[in-house]
């Protein structure tokens, strides 16, 4: 049972985490990003579309569509995020409005396009792309260790990709010059500008990164929880990861802790209901566990919760 909690907790928590990292990039650069929900959906749409077409020609057993989906979901998310970047950086739109609008548009567009593609290319009325559940890996040897072994058992390939991406993202944000500039953009863009660095460019890149990482997360959800791509992907994971990153005080490592809390509390709840032999409606009650826990923790940890200083502010060179 503990094994199952760890396995399911990771497969839910890690995609949330990678999306939250994207959010951190964007928000630390000074761009409020409520668009994560839409970005993950739009990215996953592109990935699923590519995978679905590849599956027609390569057959259901090939692993190529899976990895292609991950790659294209990142590209798709990045491309769609440019719209948010364009609105916030170039058009100086209100960032909150832009984020919400991007979400609404993503839902409408992907739902519409999924239907059109299914009808035009496959001649059937369907509003989803069947993808199937991804293959899982078990590391021999390590997975035999009691309890901890579960971290190496039944892992989805996307979890490995996410961990690699997360480590790189952490390194770039905290150990490189670019990361330093990015963080400075969120705290004092005027100083960054005075140092001769292009604030707009850095912010735009940060938003694109958030799109790519959200796309990866969305694709992971599509391959694990739902086993297909449909509008069912918009159930609020994006908002949940925003909550995680604010809870994590806009820092990567504490955000990981928040995401794992969501992941493990979620899977523990499910296991609890099953173990106690309760009717399935009780799982709804158990499902509030992660959120109640978060609220309680927030009571203790919110004293020093500070957003990046210039978050949400439109950068205007002339303004001091």
């Amino acid at each position: 049972m503990v094994d199952k909690i760890i396995i399911d907790g990771l497969s839910f928590g890690l995609p949330l985490f990678v999306m939250a990292i994207g959010g951190i990039y964007s928000e630390r650069s000074g761009i409020t990003n409520l668009a994560l929900e839409g970005l993950q959906g739009a990215g996953a749409f592109v990935g699923a579309l590519v995978a679905f077409f590849m599956m027609q020609s390569l057959g259901a057993n090939s692993q190529i569509p899976y990895y292609a989906a991950m790659l294209f979901a990142m590209l798709g998310g990045m491309l769609y995020a440019m719209l948010h970047g364009l609105l916030c950086v170039k058009f100086k739109a209100d960032q909150v409005i832009s984020g919400v609008v991007i979400n609404i548009l993503a839902m409408a567009l992907t739902e519409f396009l999924t239907k059109v593609v299914n009808r035009v290319a496959f001649g059937k009325p369907s509003n989803k792309f069947e993808l199937g559940v991804s293959k899982r890996w078990t590391v021999p040897g390590l997975s035999e260790i009691p309890v901890i072994g579960a971290f190496f058992k039944d892992i989805y390939p996307f979890e490995v990709i996410i961990i690699v991406v997360a480590v790189v993202a952490w390194y770039v944000l905290y150990r490189t010059k670019f990361g330093l500039h990015l963080r400075a953009c969120g705290d004092n863009p005027h100083a960054v500008d005075a140092a001769g660095i292009d604030v707009a460019k850095i912010r735009f890149i940060a938003v694109m990164v958030s799109g790519a990482l959200s796309g990866l997360a969305g694709m992971s959800f599509a391959y694990s929880i739902s086993a297909n791509y449909s509008s069912g992907i918009y159930v609020g994971y994006g908002y949940l990861s925003i909550a995680a990153l604010i809870f994590g005080n806009w820092k990567i490592v504490p955000t990981l802790a928040a995401c794992m809390l969501f992941g493990f509390a979620n899977s523990a709840g499910h296991q609890l209901v099953q173990a106690a032999g309760l009717p399935s409606s009780y799982s709804d009650l158990i499902m509030i566990l992660p959120y109640v826990l978060t609220m309680l923790l927030l009571v203790f940890f919110s004293k020093h919760n500070d957003a990046p200083k210039a978050l949400g502010e439109i950068y205007d060179k002339g303004k001091r």
């Binding site: 919400v100 609020g236 509030i288």
Partner: protein, 387 residues
């Protein structure tokens, strides 16, 4: 020197949008028209007639007459059912706007709607109270429940510095699951898998009321919604209380320095915002609908954020913007059946309207730049002539 010419297009552009006094209205209208044009292009690309598709949207809402009506129905029937759909959207958008005035972002409108709708349903909707008592009671209960949830979020922010976005999202989930649990264990209708229907006496919409041979679904909430919009406008424009909340929203530190009780104002603003969400919930779950689907948050609360911002967070602007967005939402069913278009295309156009409207500041900037450009060219030309 060669005489430079002004681009006639930019001259028209400036002529139409240049007057800064009217830009509050002209720019959003321009953005909306632009998105309708883009939407028309999309519809045309799908091989359908955009004009008739747009007319279908209006016809579905009873704003434009249909060719023929089924027995007992008229254009007014459609318009009443449109208003029924429109009402919760007004309340929800006002809820977002009030919180926004205090600098708070209420992303939990949907959750507050659900909490208020659910409690009113079980307390009043399932009772045998007569209509004159039940209907006002639904409204009172919804206001109290929504207000309490909202105030709780504000209090958490004030007392523990908990970011209202996070707490709203958490509370959304908690409400959603608890309500689903209670419905599934106690109040479920075994056929529809939703909560059992509320009594007609408690419902805020008078369904299938016959007047002069036609049947109407008369939404009582719409009257309240319009009154509330004007009251909020008055409170924010003319009272000390509204002024204080706006000051807190603009600059928390300055407000505190000026002796305004910031904490109390934040909690009050969230209380009002929550109460408005409660009204949205009552008119949604006990008006437009009469039951609750478990484990689903309505999208109204999220759309309301965009609608509110499209209306510039001004109550009267919100009446207009919610009217427009509701036409898209309500009319799409008729458009889809009549023109053979996917109903989703209406949502795409809604998205485009919101997208272009979000660029209002940029359009304003463009207008200003071309205005300066024209002035510069004309000045140069004049100097040339004078020489």
């Amino acid at each position: 020197m060669k005489k430079r010419k002004v681009n006639p297009l930019s001259r028209v552009f400036v002529k139409l949008l240049g007057n800064e006094k009217y830009q509050v209205i002209t720019i959003p209208v321009f953005a909306i028209l632009l998105s309708l044009v883009v939407g028309a292009a999309v519809i045309a690309a799908l091989g359908k007639d955009p004009v008739s598709a747009y007319l279908n949207l209006l016809q579905g809402c009873g704003i434009w007459p249909k060719q023929k009506y089924a027995g007992g129905k008229s254009m007014l029937t459609d318009f009443f059912s449109f208003m029924n759909y429109w009402t919760p959207m007004i309340f929800a958008s006002l809820a977002v706007a009030v919180a926004l005035k205090a600098g708070l972002f209420n992303i939990g409108v949907s959750g507050q709607m659900l909490a208020a709708g659910f409690v009113s349903t079980i307390l009043v909707g399932y009772s045998s109270l007569a209509a004159p008592i039940a209907k006002p009671l639904v409204i009172v209960v919804a206001i109290i429940v929504g207000g309490l949830v909202g105030a709780f979020i504000g209090w958490l922010k004030y007392k523990f510095n908990i970011n209202e976005v996070v707490s709203s999202i958490m509370i959304n989930y908690i409400i959603q699951y608890v309500v689903a649990f209670l419905i599934n264990t106690k109040y479920v209708d075994p056929v529809s898998r939703q909560s059992t229907n509320v009594s007609d006496a408690s419902r805020l919409t008078l369904m299938s009321t016959e007047i002069g041979g036609f049947k109407y679904d008369i939404p009582l909430g719409i009257v309240l919604a319009i009154i509330v919009a004007f009251v909020i406008k008055f409170v924010f424009d003319k009272t000390t209380f509204g002024y204080e909340i706006k000051t807190v929203g603009l600059n928390r530190k300055a407000a505190q320095y000026a002796g305004i009780n910031v904490g109390r104002n934040m909690v009050t603003a969230m209380l009002i915002s929550g109460a408005l969400s409660g009204l949205a919930g009552a008119t949604y779950y006990l008006g437009y609908f009469c039951s609750i689907q478990p484990k689903v948050l309505s999208s109204t609360g999220f759309d309301a954020i965009a609608v509110s911002l499209l209306g510039n967070s001004n109550p009267l602007g919100i009446l207009l913007s919610s009217f427009l967005i509701s036409i898209m939402g309500k009319g799409k069913t008729y458009m889809s059946s009549s023109a053979g278009l996917d109903a989703e295309i209406a949502s795409v156009i809604t998205g485009l309207i919101l997208l272009f409207s979000a660029c209002g500041a940029f359009i304003q900037y463009l207008v200003k730049r071309s205005k300066e450009n024209i002035a510069e060219i004309e000045k140069a030309n004049k100097a040339e002539v004078d020489k």
